[in-house]
């Protein structure tokens, strides 16, 4: 048996000088960045005063112009649904092309580049470009969120395909099935549940962003929200914000339900 000798005055937890230096560096950075960004206590206090007045003007929320509100929300919903549909349809083949276990390198590389490009810009910035190309309105919003969806679902879908078991693919191939059948019978059944999960997540995320692209004129409730902000119409802003949060809440609940249906451990039952 190994005998452990305990030295007198042993310290249970040795001081970690690197961690301490890290904490000091962090504090120094915070002070430096605050001074650079002109973040001062005085400004903060003035802001708190402002904030109280601001919140006072927001309540009670004003729902009297509910037609504008309902129209904006409906348009946001439409943008989210259509952008998710288009994005998913496009990202299916692209995700497949980007999966390294099924495709040769010269195919995956450009597909991955394309996905990375779609992901690198915020949807609102993409919306700016589309507003110029397609004009104001829901169409630009749909286009912008489609790009965002391709970036997200394409990446996750490619990763999901890369994690599948190749045994089933091999089995389908061994029967002499053509390429499309290998995909539909060997690959898709393995990733479908997770794919539905990504799709509902993306719908959720598109719903959040579709309420925002209106700020640059790409349709949805964002335009009305931004306009009301600039008119200091804060009680209407509050009504819109509450509606948006409610909508997103409901969307999240539905998304959780759908995920539960499709990600349930699929038992093999006989009837």
């Amino acid at each position: 048996m190994v005998t452990v000798t305990v030295a007198a005055g042993r310290i249970a937890f040795k001081p970690n000088w690197w961690a301490r230096a890290g904490w000091i560096a962090l504090v120094v950075y915070i002070v430096y960045a605050c001074s650079l960004l002109d973040v001062t206590w005085a400004r903060f206090m003035v802001g708190l005063d402002n904030g109280a007045r601001f919140i006072g003007r927001m309540f009670p929320p004003n729902f009297s112009r509910w037609e504008i509100l309902a129209k904006g929300l409906a348009e946001s919903l439409e943008i989210a649904v259509l952008a998710s549909t288009l994005g998913i349809l496009v990202s299916l083949p692209i995700g497949l092309l980007a999966s390294r276990n099924l495709m040769p390198v010269w195919v995956t590389w450009p597909a991955r580049m394309f996905i990375a490009l779609c992901r690198s810009f915020h949807p609102v910035i993409v919306a700016i470009v589309f507003v110029k190309a397609l004009g104001f309105g829901a169409l630009s919003g749909i286009a912008a969120l489609t790009v965002a969806s391709i970036g997200f679902i394409g990446k996750l879908f490619a990763e999901a395909i890369e994690e599948i078991s190749l045994k089933q693919v091999e089995a389908v191939r061994a029967t002499g099935a053509p390429f499309m059948n290998v995909i539909t019978y060997g690959v898709l059944p393995q990733v479908f549940g997770r794919f539905m999960g990504f799709a509902t997540y993306q719908l959720d995320s598109n719903l959040r962003n579709s309420t925002m692209v209106g700020i640059v004129g790409a349709g949805g409730i964002g335009g009305a929200l931004f306009a009301a902000f600039q008119r200091f119409d804060y009680d209407f802003v509050c009504a819109m914000l509450l509606s948006i949060i409610f909508l997103i809440f409901v969307g999240e609940l539905i998304a959780t339900q759908v995920r539960a249906i499709f990600l349930e451990r699929t038992r093999v039952d006989e009837e």
Binding site: F13, E78, V81, S120, F121, T266
Partner: protein
């Protein structure tokens, strides 16, 4: 004989209830898509000249105004990075107590757990641009509003993941510490912290990466950073400068992603 029995059986992957639920989801999806297509206000004429407009846009963007970088972009870009970093730090400071409050093994009170979870959800369901609008209205335009917007938007994300990591922590270490009579704070720092550290750093890095992207657009509503430069250039139709700003954002986002991946590989 047995073969015949097997053939008479019908094997199905899902139960009737599962199939019904799935069918309901498909039906809802198709309905939503059809209704959206029918009601969305799209002006088809706008699509006809889209290629022309796109070509025009690219022509105006070229050549990219690289000369504009030192005087108009660099400072704003650095400000964006500071907003993202400071916002993340602030978010972590605020998210820790809320995350601990949401974890049932640290805060054994269901009511407090629910309050914390409600705080986290409401932080997440307000978009960072909306947070920015609110803070611009309160603190005036500038980086302070942007930093707070980033921080408040991130609390939900960081807090949720911290809370989950704490709940999943192995209780053996905790019990050992409690058995020797360690005070509450020591249990936290010596029992929980080493266990949640890997998850924590990966969450923080991931969130910082997202925040760099998000802080680039906050300027559109006046909350500081490179979005301000973008907004100004766009309002003046200086598309060559817009191209410069977009290039700068693209470069920063790519660099941030590379940095995050490199750090993650080294520490996790």
């Amino acid at each position: 004989m047995t073969v015949a029995v097997l053939e008479a059986r019908t094997w199905r992957r899902f139960t009737p209830a599962q199939r019904l639920a799935r069918f309901a989801v498909y039906l809802a999806m198709v309905t939503a898509i059809v209704v959206s297509i029918q009601t969305v206000e799209v002006i088809p004429e706008f699509m006809l000249d889209a290629p022309e407009q796109m070509a025009d846009l690219l022509k105006r963007m070229w050549p990219v105004a690289f000369a504009y970088y030192p005087k108009g972009v660099h400072e704003a870009l650095v400000e964006t990075l500071h907003i993202a970093t400071l916002g993340t730090i602030l978010a972590v400071l605020m998210a820790f107590p809320v995350g601990l409050m949401a974890a049932n093994n640290i805060t054994p009170s269901r009511t407090l757990n629910y309050i914390a979870k409600l705080l986290l959800v409401s932080s997440r369901s307000v978009n960072s641009l909306v947070w920015a609008l609110l803070f611009v209205a309160v603190f005036g335009p500038g980086a302070l509003a942007g930093t707070l917007a980033i921080a408040f938007r991130s609390i939900g994300f960081v807090g949720k993941l911290v809370g989950e990591a704490v709940e999943e922590a192995n209780q053996g270490t905790i019990e050992a510490l409690q058995a020797v009579g360690a005070p509450w704070l020591s249990v936290l720092t010596k029992g929980y912290w080493p266990q949640i550290q890997p998850a924590f750093w990966s969450v923080v890095l991931f969130r910082w990466d997202i925040n760099v992207r998000e802080s680039a657009v906050l300027g559109l509503v006046g909350a500081g950073g490179i979005g301000m430069a973008l907004d100004t250039a766009m309002n003046l139709f200086q598309w060559d400068r817009v191209a410069m700003v977009l290039l700068a954002i693209f470069a920063v986002v790519i660099i941030a992603e590379i940095v995050v991946t490199a750090i993650r590989k080294r520490i996790i």
